[in-house]
């Protein structure tokens, strides 16, 4: 069984300050982390690998200036990682879906594609559905957990007030929510070796030019970035005062107003 995990990076939010009034992000410390939802997808893939024999292959969710996220994936337990080069940095999901479909074909196919349900920075959620559409595979979005058995994948997803388990035949695309699983830490020795390019793990990182996968015209971005805006500020909370009974009554009343009828 082969699991393709699609991973991206995001600026570490602890190193930035968002100034809504100025419409700018101030970068105090330019450090990147794995997209949290993608990291959950990697964890889900590694848990399937732990439970049953599977090959986990890491791929980037967009063209990146370096192979950092793939090194992290290898150090964490992925068996192979493919660094895609030669495309526009930060390419949109439509373009990347084409490239990733070609990359997965070159791999010899996959039984399951796992990726994050959403990105932390721009809130993009299209990659999973676009891959499923391009491959004509079933998809499960916003999963909390995934397991595989007997040629099918079972995922836990939200359904209104509760959770349900859904099952799809493989091959399939499943997207994981951020915070769905507690990700494991990379192995220290593997981390050092992959960045130094020594040992067996260094052989597991391959570099594939995008031009070998798709025609040059397919590498033209569909989306043009013209600027950035920020979501509206969250409303400030209200501090309730009074006796416990009064506070409870006021809180219940406030909740009643907000809950959908």
């Amino acid at each position: 069984m082969r699991i393709a995990v699609v991973l991206g990076r995001v600026l570490d939010p602890r190193g930035i300050v968002v100034n809504r009034r100025a419409g700018r992000i101030f970068i105090n410390r330019e450090e990147y982390i794995l997209q949290p939802a993608d990291r959950c997808a990697l964890e889900a893939a590694l848990r399937i690998k732990d439970a049953a024999s599977a090959e986990v292959v890491a791929l980037p969710r967009t063209f990146l200036p370096d192979d950092d996220v793939l090194c992290q994936a290898l150090a964490t337990g992925a068996d192979r990682a493919i660094y895609l080069t030669g495309g526009p940095l930060g390419a949109d999901e439509a373009l990347m879906a084409r490239v990733l479909v070609a990359a997965i074909a070159k791999l010899g196919g996959a039984d399951l594609i796992l990726t994050g349900a959403t990105t932390m920075d721009t809130g993009q959620s299209q990659l999973g559905p676009r891959l499923a559409e391009a491959l004509n595979w079933p998809q499960v979005l916003n999963a909390w957990a995934v397991e595989t058995a007997d040629g099918a994948a079972r995922a836990v997803v939200n359904a209104g007030a509760g959770y349900v388990q859904v099952e799809v035949d493989l091959p399939a695309v499943i997207t994981l929510l951020p915070g769905a699983l507690k990700p494991r830490y990379p192995r220290g020795t593997q981390l050092i070796n992959i960045y130094r390019g020594v040992g067996e793990i260094a052989q597991a990182l391959e570099q594939w030019p995008a031009a070998d996968l798709v025609e040059e015209a397919a590498l033209t971005p569909v989306v043009e970035r013209r600027g950035q805006d920020f979501p509206p500020e969250r409303e400030r909370g209200v501090r309730l005062t009074g006796s416990p009974e009064e506070v409870a009554r006021a809180a219940a009343e406030a909740l009643r107003k907000r809950l959908p009828r």
């Binding site: 830490y185 050092i192 070796n193 960045y195």
Partner: protein, 391 residues
């Protein structure tokens, strides 16, 4: 000259910081309050390879060098001094002595499980009458066939209450003293004659074990002599040099955390209609300590680079002493400043500053008091000018 961290060290810092924030920080107040050793944290640190961060991969280590080890200590020191102390005693002096002077068989047998975190090390030097005057130890080792019989004891041994392996310094020739009469031994805590006599109840670093060890007719095989017979004092001093550098790194983390806390409160707390950050007295204090922290950071990582590039001569000894002395004092000043900015809240247990204040004090004492560090530094400086300082 390039002051940037390598990609592997940047990745290592990300890993360690995440581990420290997720696994270590949430327990810091609790292990202090309950006077508990964070065994589970130590197990997890070993599982991902961090308890062997600087040791060679052939002996179960990560191979990240002294720079990697300083990164680990800085990030642990930033969130929990107790955990940093446990790790420092294990890697920085206990296992370090075996790494520095152990033979290949000793490294295979002892360093490998220590680097993997399967066993924990301690460093047995201090005695009740031999603290700063380390050469004055009384623990005696007498040769008997293929073994040595150790009698005596050690005090204030970090990790002593639960360590599996203790590197112990003992007198093998009283006539020669420290110059040829002291030998280092690798001792297993499970051997008959090894006893943990007492656990200290301390003001700070309460998540650590500080124990008194007693050796009664403790039989140590000759193959467990670390380095050469009579050269134990050199082995221990070399280990302490390494420990002093990384203690400086842990202090750097503690100082950085204090600065972050001070800045946070200065921008949060309003007095006289404005945040404290707008008061010049606060700004200048923050500017002063931030400058000291940057100076300490430069010193620590420069000395780590020296170790990683094999420059461990006399200059290293002097600079390692500076790391320890300056680091511990910068950390104390930074924490004191943060406490002052927090005001009355700083001494309550609702914030971490009170614990940091108690934890920081020992760094000016253990691994050689700061007075001893000043002697080391001054001795080296005067030696350059042909003056030999009398002890």
């Amino acid at each position: 000259m390039d002051f940037t961290f390598s990609p592997e060290h940047q990745a290592l810092r990300r890993l360690v910081r995440e581990f420290a924030e997720n696994e270590v920080a949430p327990l810091a107040a609790e292990i202090d309050r309950k006077h508990q050793i964070p065994f589970e944290t130590l197990r997890k640190l070993g599982e991902i390879g961090l308890l062997g961060v600087c040791f060679p991969q052939e002996y179960g280590g990560m191979g990240a060098g002294e720079t990697g080890y300083c990164i680990l200590m800085e990030e642990l020191g930033r969130v929990c001094t107790s955990t940093a102390t446990n790790v420092g005693a294990h890697i920085g002096i206990g296992a370090m002595a075996i790494h520095l002077d152990g033979n290949p068989e000793q490294k295979r047998k002892y360093l490998t499980p220590l680097a993997r975190g399967e066993k924990i090390a301690a460093f047995g030097l201090t005695e009740s009458n031999a603290g700063s005057d380390a050469a004055n130890i009384r623990t005696r080792a007498v040769r008997e066939g293929d073994s040595w019989i150790l009698d005596g004891g050690k005090v204030y041994i970090t990790n002593g209450g639960f360590a599996d392996i203790v590197t112990v310094m003992a007198v093998t020739d009283p006539a020669l003293g420290a110059r040829g009469g002291v030998t280092a031994f690798i001792v297993e805590a499970s051997w008959p004659g090894f006893k943990v006599a007492r656990e200290e109840d301390k003001m700070g670093i309460r998540g650590t074990s500080t124990a008194e060890l007693v050796f009664e007719e403790l039989r140590v095989p000759h193959e467990n002599v670390l380095g050469k017979v009579g050269e134990g004092f050199v082995t221990f001093m070399k280990s302490l040099d390494m420990g002093r550098l990384t203690l400086g790194a842990a202090c750097l983390g503690g100082a950085q955390a204090a600065l972050e806390m001070a800045v946070y409160w200065a921008k949060t707390r309003r007095q006289f209609g404005v945040e404290l950050a707008h008061k010049q007295s606060v700004q200048w204090a923050i500017a002063n300590i931030a400058t000291e922290i940057e100076a300490l950071r430069s010193l620590v990582y420069r000395v780590a680079w020296m170790v990683d590039t094999g420059q461990t001569g006399q200059e290293f000894t002097q600079l390692a002493a500076m790391c320890k002395m300056y680091g511990s004092e910068v950390a104390s000043r930074a924490i004191d400043l943060a406490l002052q900015i927090y005001g009355g809240l700083g001494v309550t247990r609702d914030f971490h500053i009170e614990r940091a204040f108690r934890d920081a004090r020992i760094a000016e004492i253990f691994e050689g008091t700061n007075e001893i560090q000043r002697i080391v530094i001054a001795s080296n400086i005067f030696r350059e000018y042909g003056v030999r300082i009398r002890p």
